[in-house]
């Protein structure tokens, strides 16, 4: 029975993002990026050179995987945004916060087990833009939110970087 519970819990991680990865696997309008648990365990072996790197490595220390689905020229972004959020609600995700800014809406949701956040998703919807990002493992929200404060970041310029990376 314990084995069964472990398998169910493990397979439930990244459930929504996996579904959309499969759905848009052959669609060139979407960029799909996946960082494996093996890669995250490699990060933990790195020696931080700066305090910022140290904070970043602390934030990813217990992460088991990350998946990102990005589309920046899609026609049904609003529908997709609603659809994904609806499915997350049904799948037992809890809304952490929603931020609306300059035509873009960001929604953060978490999935907990025994008081520990096991998955954090960010869904962004804008004019012709859509992003679904999911990280899973053991998530420490404080250490993630600290990253932006410790580095000199202006707004969402990294969203552009990520899009550029995916389009290459």
């Amino acid at each position: 029975m314990a084995l069964m519970l472990v398998i169910v819990a493990a397979s439930a991680q990244g459930e929504i993002v996996n579904k959309y990865f499969n759905q848009y696997a052959d669609n060139d309008q979407f960029t799909k990026l996946s960082i494996s648990s093996k890669m995250f365990s490699m990060f933990t072996q790195l020696e931080p050179g700066t305090p910022e790197e140290k904070e970043f490595l602390a934030a990813v220390a217990k992460i088991k995987g990350m998946k990102v689905l990005v589309g920046d020229s899609i026609t049904n972004s609003a529908t997709l945004y609603k659809q994904v959020n609806g499915e997350m609600d049904k799948a037992g995700f809890e809304e952490l916060m929603t931020v609306s800014d300059a035509g873009e809406t960001l929604r953060f949701c978490t999935k907990e087990s025994n008081g520990v956040i096991q998955e954090l998703t960010m869904v962004a919807g804008g004019k012709k833009k859509f992003l679904l990002m999911s990280i899973y493992g053991t998530i420490d929200l404080k250490s993630i939110s600290k990253l932006a404060r410790s580095m000199d970041v202006e707004g969402l310029k990294n969203l552009q970087k990520l899009d550029d990376k995916g389009n290459n």
Binding site: M1, L3, M4, I7, V8, S11, A12, E15, F21, A25, K32, L33, S34, I35, S36, M39, F40, M42, F43, F56, A59, V60, M66, K67, V68, L96, M97, T98, V99, D101, L106, F108, L120, M122, A124, M133, I135, L141, I144, S145, K146, L147, A148, R149, M151, V153, G155, L156, N158, L159, K161, L162, K165
Partner: protein, 144 residues
């Protein structure tokens, strides 16, 4: 006497001798050790019968029962795994074709993605703080 012993030996080899007859044989060959080439065998007869078997005997039917239980246990485990996969509507794990293989690229992407999440979380935090300020101001207005 000789014919009696021959008769007992024949019954023994035929598997029809009684315990008393076997004891009689043993007694005879212990008294006349050189009487027969088979004397040593019959002398040891009593000891061999008394000795407890070194390995516990298991009836073939019991062995098959144990095997059935083992097969049943294995079936339950395999069934649980398959059922859990069916219940979660999952396919068996496949290799993800979108996994970033280059560690440097993976590091940069992860860093940018986490930064993006962090910025979003902080935007939410700022918005919450502003909302709290508004609520506080509203409370003060209502009090006045």
């Amino acid at each position: 006497m000789e014919s009696r012993i021959e008769e007992l030996k024949q019954k023994y080899w035929d598997g029809t001798s009684t315990l008393d007859e076997e004891a009689e044989l043993k007694q005879y060959f212990s008294e006349y050790p050189s009487a027969d080439t088979q004397a040593k065998y019959f002398e040891a007869l009593g000891g061999a019968k008394a000795a407890s078997p070194s390995k516990e005997y298991a009836h073939p039917a019991m062995r098959s029962t144990r095997r059935i239980w083992m097969v049943a246990a294995a079936s339950v485990i395999i069934g649980s795994v398959v059922l859990s996969l069916v219940l979660t509507n999952k396919e068996l794990p496949k290799e993800d074709p979108f996994v970033v293989q280059d560690p440097q690229e993976a590091y940069e992407i992860t860093r940018n993605a986490f930064m993006m999440m962090s910025v979003g979380l902080n935007q939410g935090a700022v918005a919450t703080t502003e909302l709290k300020k508004i609520n506080k101001a509203e409370e003060l207005l209502i009090k006045n």
